[in-house]
Amino acid sequence: MSILSFDDEIEERGYDVRARRDAGGGTGPLYIVCSPRKSVGKTLLARLIAEFYFAHDRPIAAFDLADEGPQLSDFLPDVTTAVELGSMRGQMGFFDRLIGEKHAAKVVDVSHRMFRDFFVIANKIGILEEASRRGIEPIILFLIDPDEKSAGAYSILQRWFAEISLLPVRNQIVSNGIPYWGSFPNESPIHVALEVPLLSASVKNLIAQTSFSFARFQRTQSIGLPVRLDDELRGFIRRVFRQFCEMEQRRMCGDVRGHWSSSP
């Protein structure tokens, strides 16, 4: 079966990405995927988070601040809103919606070009603190890389958003060799090591197709890939989703590591 006929099979199975139901209930978190550097895997990570929610039939809304393709709205057009931060109306439409709707989780893909503007505005208007007050937990997922600019930006975010979870994410393609707790310490209450594993060129090409869905792939027995690639991709999705599961659990239950270590 070719990848192009994949949609048909999924529809036969009754799985439709357009009709998300909330299986989890409660208030969805707000994930902000960012880096001041280009080509570090921001859109891939934002996609994976959205697909993780699809896979669990939980509602998610995605927001795309990128200005060059391929971008999140190319991969997830049904759930993604393109954001324009340059105008006050654009900011109102975006930020007011981020905190206005509590039920669905949200993922924001902040392009490297919008990194500064986004966080300057967020800091100025106090949107992340406001989200927290409304029970929407903001989690900043920062894709780390060896550039000094990234370490500097990370440190600024830590200072500006001291009460918000800021988690370093290692994309193995770009961040091999960076010690976890060096320039990018995780001081948030969510102690989880997030990693985007390496993929072979063939699988990378496959997931780069805008019609590809990780959640649909995971739910399908086979799409006709060679076994080696099929295994590699399933392993990749399993590994990433397991990390997200762990992050979700720690987010909802509160991380106990700090409590244990401080116990007598």
Binding site: M88, R89, Q91, M92, F95, D96, I99, G100, K124, I125, G126, I127, E130, R133, R134
Partner: protein
Amino acid sequence: MAKPVVVLVGADKGGVGKTTVSRTILDYLAARKIPTRAFDTEWPRGTLKRFHPDITEVVDVTSVADQMKIFDTLETSSAAVTLIDVRAGIMSSTLNALRNIGFLDAGRKGQLTFALFHILGSSIASLDEIAETSHYLADAKYFLVKNFINNTSFFEWDQATYNSYFKQFKDAVEITIPQLSEMAYEQVELVAAPFTNFIANKAANGLPANHSFVLRGYVRHWLENVWSEFDRVKFLDLVGVREGATEATKPRLMKLAEAAAS
């Protein structure tokens, strides 16, 4: 009993933001629970009164009757601070009237505290206004307010010229009002409520409203900066610091926002 405090906000030029600055002062004092009354000299229609109707009275400051209403009640009023928002074009004549009735002398003798917030426009005429105004002031507290709220660039000003004017008045203190997003400013205008009400997501009557969080955030950030300027120039020293009045500006405004969220 504490000395009465009179704060005059004025400029001879129109449209430089006198009422906006008056509103920020009234909000600042209200947040610190300092009893204040205001007189709006945009007679008979009024502008400041739209935003602070409970404490504001519209007066014709050029009439003797209304001058009596303001100045003869300084001692007896329960308000610790009297703010007068002087409409465009009459600041010099108002100061002249204050001198003629002996008000400025009373300030000089320490019987009352007098502060002038002189709102500067972007034109060179504002610099001439400073020279004209300053000779009335003697011991009064003189604040020169550069108002950037509408993105004024003060394009006509040569900094050296400004400095030469500024240095003539050794006791003058400069205050900068930063820029506020036009849409946020207009929204508060439409609501016709104090800035603090808007930040707290309340309507003019104090009932819950549904203002944009983004606009409220911008207004809160802007007002924090304005109040920080008032803190910096120790404006409260004029009034006499009271218990609980010294809490920093930022936590105060954050509390308003938090109250709105809860």
